[in-house]
Structures are given as C-alpha cells and as structure tokens.
C-alpha cells in the first residue's frame, strides 16, 4: 500500500531539515523568554545537522572507517566532520548567548525579548 511512497523516501531528510528550520524560526519570532529563544535557535541549527548528514548519506554504504584499503563505497566522511565543527560552533554561540542573558537578567530583572530594547525612540 505504501509502495508508491517509497520513491519519496530519499526526500524525507530534506523535508525534515526544512521543517526544523521553519518551525525554529517561527518559535523564535513568537518567543517571550530568551532562554526559550536560545533553545529555538538550537532547533534552527539542528536543521543544518540533518541537511549535512542527508547530503553525505549513501544508501547501503558502511561507516567511513578504513582499515587498510578504502572500500568502494562509504558514507561521506567530509560532511560528518562538518557536522562536528558545526556542533562546536553552536555550543560556543549558545554559551555566549546564555552568558549575555544572565547579565541581562541581573541588570533588568527580565529576559522577555519584548521588554528589553536597545534604545528608546
């Protein structure tokens, strides 16, 4: 019954990446709490993990661990390295953002994005 859906299966990771990106942006726009907002930013970032891993995936191929001679087919190791770097960068940005939010809370007593504006007009 689901046979006609099978050709669409390779598109699934791309659709998931697009969905995560969109839903993350929507949550950022509607967020009323900076810690929540930073979590949503991580959701947006998760879309890039899925996208990169999907780009490197080869159907039926083993993990790229080579002992002596490379096999003819393996999952692309370059993209996995990119995802690792991506995770490191994401952790840096998240830590920095949380530190800023902590300082903001100390000074203003609120971390609602609607109530802290850089400048009165």
């Amino acid at each position: 019954m689901t046979g006609f859906l099978l050709p669409l299966l390779p598109l699934l990771p791309w659709a998931v990446a697009a969905w995560l990106f969109g839903v993350g942006l929507y949550a950022i726009v509607t967020s009323r709490h900076y810690v929540h907002l930073i979590g949503c930013l991580s959701v947006v970032q998760a879309s890039t993990y899925v996208l990169l891993l999907a780009a490197g995936y080869r159907h039926g191929a083993p993990a790229p661990i080579f002992y002596s001679r490379p096999p003819t087919l393996a999952v692309d190791p370059v993209l996995q390295a990119l995802v690792l770097t991506d995770i490191v960068i994401g952790a840096t940005v998240t830590a920095l953002l949380l530190a800023l939010v902590l300082q903001l809370h100390k000074r203003r007593g609120t971390i609602d994005p609607e109530r802290v504006r850089p400048m009165r007009r």
Partner: protein, 612 residues
C-alpha cells in the same frame, strides 16, 4: 634573505600569528603588566598588515596558492584546504589589519582594567577577518566567518550596560541565523557538486549550471552574507549593535566587518557561481534591488537620528547599499569601483566613529541636541568630522571618489535606472546628517531645542583616561590615508577586480582550460590584467559636486528648520511625515520583528529565483 622572504610569503602567517599570540596572551593575562597587551596587540596588527601587503604585492601577477599539509589536488580533484591570495583579498586583509592597528592605538589604555581580554578578542576578531579574505574553501570560509562573528558578539556586549546587552543579543541571534543559512547553503552545494574548494565548486557548477539546488545554495549563502552586510531587509541588527558597542569596536564593525560580508558575496559570485544563469539573473534583480533600497533607507534613517553613533550606523547601511549596487551590476567596472569604495568608506567611517569615541570620552555624551556648541574646545575633532561628512557626501577627492566614479560608470553602462538616484540619495542624506551634527556640536548652530533631556539612550560616557592627541592621531591618519593619488588607486582596483573575476580552474586545480565543463567560463584574456582602461571622464562627472552641494544645503535646512514658515513645516508633516514615521517604526528593537524580516527577504529571493 630569500629564505626569510619565502617564509614571509606563507599565506598562513597573517592568521597563525594572531591566533597564537591571542592564545598565549590569554593564558598569562593575569600576570601581564598593564601596557603590555596594548603594545603586543598593536605590534601584531602592524606585522600582519605588513605581511598581507607583501602577499598582495606579490600576487599581482598570479595568485599565491598554499595547500595546508601539502594536500595538493590529485588528478584535478581538490582534496585539501587552500589559502589563495589575490590582490583583492590580500589588500582587503591588509586594510583590515591597518584599521585594527589604528583602533588599538585609539583605544590605548581604554580597557586596561580587564586583564587583556579586550585585546585577545580584538586579535582573534582580526584573525577571523584575515582568514575570511584569504581562504579558498567554502567550509573554511564559514569557520573564519564564525570566529569573526563570535568575537564580534562578545565585543558588543563588552560594556555590560543594559542597552549594550540587548543590542548584543539582537546582533547575536540575527547573525547566528545568518550563519546557519550559510551552513545550509554549503550543505546543498556540496550535495550537488561534491567539492568545497572554490575552484572545484566552480568546475562542478559549470557542469550543472541550471540545477535548482545550486540556485538555492546561492540564495542561502548570499542571504547569510548579506545579513552580515546589513542590506535591506536584513539590516535591522546593525543600528542596534553599532550604536551600543564600545566606540573602538564600532570602528571595526562599520569600517570592515560589514564590508567583508559584501566582499564575500562578490568573491563567491565570481569565483564559484558565475556560470549559473539564474544566479546571474538574481544578481541583477534581487541584489541590485536590495542595494538600492539600502542606499535610500539607510540615508533617510540617518537623517532622522540624533544619537551620533546610531546616525553613523545608518549611514553605513546606506553606503553598503552603494557597495552592493557596484557588486550586483556584475561588471569589471563595478567590481573595481566597489573594492576601492570599500577601502575608502572603511577609512572614513572608521575615522568618524573615532570622533564619536572622542565625543563620548571628552564631552561625556553622544546626543546631537544635548551637545549643541559643546565641541568647540575639541575643534580638531570637528574638522575631522566635517571633512568626513563631505567625503561621505561624495566630495571628489581620494579613494572613495575614485571608487564612486567607477561605480557610476558601471551604472551608466548597465542602464540601471533606479541605481543612480538611489546612490545620490544615499550620498546626500548621509553627508547632510554628519554635516548637520558637525554644525550643531562644533559650531553651535541651530536652535536651542529644549529637548536636551530627551536623549534616546541611558546616560553614556566612555573613560577619558587618554590624552586627546592620542585619539586624534589615528583619526587623522585614517582620513589622510583615504586621500592617496587617485590614479594609482584606480589601477590597483582594476587589477584586483580582474584577478577576482578570473576563473581559477586551471591555475588551482591544474586542469586544462580547453576541456571539460569548466571551459565555458568567461575566461579573461591575460592582457586584461595589465591594460587598465584610460580613466574616461564619466558622463556623470559633475554629480559628486552636486551631491556635496545638496548635502550642505540639506544640513543647513536641518539646522534652520525652526526659521521656516509654518505652512512649509505643516506641508512636510502631512506629506512626508507618515512615510518617515512608518520607516522608523520598522526599526523596533525587537528580535522577533528582525527575524520576520529575514523570512520576508528569503521569500523574495525564492520568488525571484522561481519566477523572475
């Protein structure tokens, strides 16, 4: 001697030295005597400036290529990561280091309470920018971009004041979304072409020029870079971040960081994407439109500000719009003009932000109305500000004018109807805004408004622990550096643009130009590198004078507003007033609004690439 020269010509040095010194300095920061971080940071910036200048000079004939770890391409397949120095990248990196050196002199002793952290962040910031200019690998480009961004985020919130913190949060959230867009673009193009080296990518894209994945990748990459480049509708974070960051940091932000995003767009278009027809179309439609809108919106918004740093921030949006127009015309003429205008604008805008820093330190404020007539005792800063304002308005001297003349010719050649008025509005409005502040603060012109208390931010002031001359010297140096002999600058810009546009499949990957899908690329004849066309007086050569005159007139109008007849003021309030109010309302300070505008920009990109 030649061994020393060979060592100095390693393209990795201008990033390796600051990264190493930054790490070392952080590890011993608690035990360093007070002035040591200042001295070390300035020396590192000057050393990197010299190394980049050497690399840039040597790369005039052919790009300098360096593969990390000796992983050179095998059978035309790039398997390693390369640094490639072209005159454009080399001179831009040199300019970045120079601006850092001047800024570090300007901020001498400014941050000495903080155990060298400021200097470490500045050095890492510089390393990120230099790496961005020299790298030849898309993912490596992203890593340098992130290094630069994270250092910038931390420096913005450095003062830990309320407004600085919320400005830094807006800046970080918006720019991080931009970074993820870039990463998504990298993933897409890699999945289609299977390479990350620029030359490998260009070769692959030439084989599938009509692929929608390639177009989507360009949309994401250029959107991410244009968020950094502060182009409408992605520009909102800029005014928040630039106006609250410490003045020395704002010098770097406006002078170099914003322009580097646009440099990235130009480099990616010419070295990677130029073979794709839809991308060519997007340059002429979407990017040109964004540049025109930014030039106008930034100019009008600048006129409306009384917080001088915020005013300068909007003028940066406007001038970066002019830069993007030059890039989007996708011609050698436009690119050469843009590269020169980037340098000239960076120097002048850096000097103007230094004047803002002097005002904050010596006068203890930044509000135009509140400081009326207060600047008389620091009149040299006033001369710098007035001259800077004239240069922004298009006064025909120096590098900025040379670049502008090239951009103007490119606009004329491309028959871009909206671009010329947009550039004029940007020049006149930004120049007038700066001249108006000069008149009010340094000459005491204009009425006593009775609004001195309604300053738009909390009370601001920066430490006045430095002699005035120490702050004036780098300011004057930057202004003077923007006034070299126009003909030499013109020639340099032309060579840099030619090399940036040159396909590198043959020189980098060792592939023959005559075969394969890459051969269809627009190959530049070698003679074009040498032959700089004579500087034909542009058909618009009197326009810079007109712009300068109009800016002076508009500034005078702003200062004598109270003397106008009431009917004129009412007419203005009924006709232009609502438009202006609507424009200001978009700059809400809310990160949610800014993210919404990003999705609007992405949607426009999508519509234009699908149906345009």
């Amino acid at each position: 001697m030649s061994a020393l020269l060979a060592l100095a010509l390693q393209p990795v040095l201008p990033v390796a030295i600051p990264l190493t010194v930054g790490g070392l300095m952080l590890s011993v920061s608690k035990r360093l005597p007070r002035k040591v971080p200042d001295v070390v940071a300035i020396l590192v910036a000057l050393l990197c400036c010299g190394l980049c200048a050497l690399l840039a000079t040597r790369s005039a004939a052919a790009p300098i290529v360096s593969w990390f770890g000796g992983w050179t391409p095998r059978q035309g397949q790039p398997i390693g990561i390369a640094f490639v120095v072209t005159p454009a990248g080399g001179w831009f990196a040199c300019f970045v280091c120079l601006l850092f050196a001047a800024t570090l002199v300007f901020s001498w002793g400014f941050f000495e309470k903080t155990a060298a952290h400021f200097h470490v962040l500045m050095i890492l910031f510089m390393a990120g920018m230099v790496g961005f200019c020299l790298t030849h690998d898309l993912f490596n480009l992203f890593v340098w971009f992130e290094l630069m961004s994270v250092a910038a985020f931390a420096l913005t919130g450095y003062a830990l004041r309320d407004s600085a913190l919320s400005g830094a949060l807006n800046f970080t959230v918006v720019n991080t979304i931009g970074s993820y867009l870039i990463l998504g673009g990298i993933g897409l193009v890699y999945s289609e072409v299977g390479a990350l080296d620029f030359a490998g990518l260009a070769y692959g894209i030439a084989g599938v020029p009509h692929s929608p994945v390639v177009v989507a990748s360009f949309v994401l990459l250029s959107s991410g870079l244009l968020i950094k480049g502060a182009q409408v509708p992605y520009q909102f974070w800029l005014a928040d971040a630039h106006s609250v960051a410490p003045s020395p940091v704002s010098v770097i932000f406006s002078g170099a960081m914003v322009a580097i995003g646009l440099y990235g767009v130009a480099e990616l278009y010419w070295t990677v994407f130029q073979a794709a027809p839809v991308v060519q179309h997007l340059m002429r439609s979407m990017l040109l439109g964004m540049g025109e809108a930014s030039a106008i919106v930034g100019g009008v918004m600048a006129l409306l500000q009384r917080h001088f740093k915020r005013l300068l921030a909007f003028s940066t949006v406007s001038h970066c719009g002019i830069l993007l127009i030059g890039i989007a015309l996708a011609s050698r003429q436009g690119l050469a003009g843009t590269l020169l205008y980037m340098l000239g604008h960076g120097l002048v805008k850096g000097a103007l932000f230094m004047v803002a820093g002097i005002m904050l330190a010596v006068l203890g404020g930044i509000d135009e109305i509140g400081l009326r007539g207060a600047g008389r005792r620091i009149w040299p800063a006033g001369i710098a500000m007035g001259f800077g304002g004239l240069l922004l308005a298009g006064l025909p001297v120096g590098v900025m004018d040379t670049g502008l003349e090239r951009i103007g010719t490119a606009i004329h050649d491309a028959h871009a109807r909206v671009a010329l008025p947009a550039v004029m509005i940007g020049l006149v409005c930004t120049g007038a805004a700066v001249l108006r502040v000069t008149g009010r603060v340094f000459l005491g012109l204009g009425p006593v408004a009775g609004e001195e208390e309604r300053s738009p931010t909390e009370q601001e002031r920066e430490d006045a622990n430095r002699p005035l001359w120490l702050m004036l010297v780098p300011t004057a140096a930057l202004i003077l550096l923007s006034l070299p002999i126009a003909h030499d600058a013109d020639r340099l810009g032309w060579v840099a643009a030619s090399q940036l546009m040159q396909p590198r499949t043959a020189s980098i990957l060792g592939l023959g130009l005559g075969s394969g899908p890459g051969s269809g690329l627009d190959a530049v004849p070698a003679s074009a590198l040498v032959a700089v066309p004579a500087w034909s007086p542009a058909p618009v050569s009197w326009l810079p004078w007109l712009a300068t005159a109009l800016a002076l007139g508009l500034a005078a109008l702003g200062l004598s507003w109270h003397r106008l007849p009431g009917t004129t003021i009412r007419l203005y309030e009924r006709s232009v007033g609502p438009v202006v109010a609507g424009l200001s309302a978009t700059q809400s300070g809310l990160v949610a609004d800014y993210v919404t505008w990003i999705t609007v920009g992405l949607a426009l990109f999508g519509i234009l690439s699908a149906f345009g």
